[in-house]
Symmetry: C2
Subunit: 146 residues, 2 copies
């Protein structure tokens, strides 16, 4: 189990060939600490305490560098802004079409697409399942409205 290991952020950055700056350190640390998904804007606002001079464009630049380097993952799903999360074990997403909340889920095995890939001569890098539906809370809320 590695859920208690505090990763050395500067080390992580160096390992993927990125310069270590206070901005990158703080942003990556924040994404790794809070385990959930967050938008660029949420990250920007969370940083006001630590880095009051942080610029929005630096947030976007940093998120791009980090995700190009594979340290975080960008999720474009549902309405609104892209979300980012720490690139832990591969997982999939359920989005509630009522409240927009995003939930993770894990599968022991991803669907076998080797046949599809062969036929289309497509080289598969990643496979992500997107589920749309209604979350627990909203199912009950819906009932109340009728």
């Amino acid at each position: 189990m590695d859920h208690d290991i505090k990763p050395n952020i500067p080390e992580l950055l160096k390992r993927v060939g990125l310069r270590v700056t206070p901005q990158r350190d703080a942003i990556l640390r924040h994404i790794i600490d809070r385990k959930g998904h967050m938008s660029a804007d949420q990250i920007y606002r969370s940083m006001q305490g630590t880095l009051p001079n942080l610029s929005v464009s630096t947030v976007y630049n940093t998120l791009k560098s980090l995700s190009d380097a594979g340290l975080i993952r960008e999720i474009k799903f549902g309405d609104g802004a892209s979300l980012f999360d720490a690139n832990r074990e591969p997982h999939h997403h359920m989005v509630c079409t009522v409240c927009g909340e995003l939930f993770d889920f894990y599968l022991k095995a991803t669907p076998d697409l080797t046949h599809i890939a062969q036929q289309a001569r497509f080289h598969i890098d990643e496979c992500h399942i997107e589920v749309k539906g209604i979350c627990d809370a909203c199912q009950h809320r819906e009932v109340d409205l009728t």
Copy 2:
């Protein structure tokens, strides 16, 4: 097999409770005729011949009405604009991370997520698989560059 049946567009619109207007007729017809995916902007430009006075906002309104009614499907995937396609058999998508092209694929069965849904008390409406990778053409193009 129903691939040759020309659907009666006004009839389709009425059936889902939408008023029949020349704009809706032309846009839905266009999406059903060309089988692929297209963006709002592509649709807008394709209509210049048939409906020169068509407004961009009408395209967006119409696409929203049609997809709310279940006649077309919106795909938010990859970079850039939402894509729309006629809501045929359920299918999944592969996107090439090099050229951005989107490819459909079909599965006999979608992954069984009943256990996941039960555990999360999530009511699943649809399940869409997104594959990222490199398409046939770009694999060869990549090789040439080295």
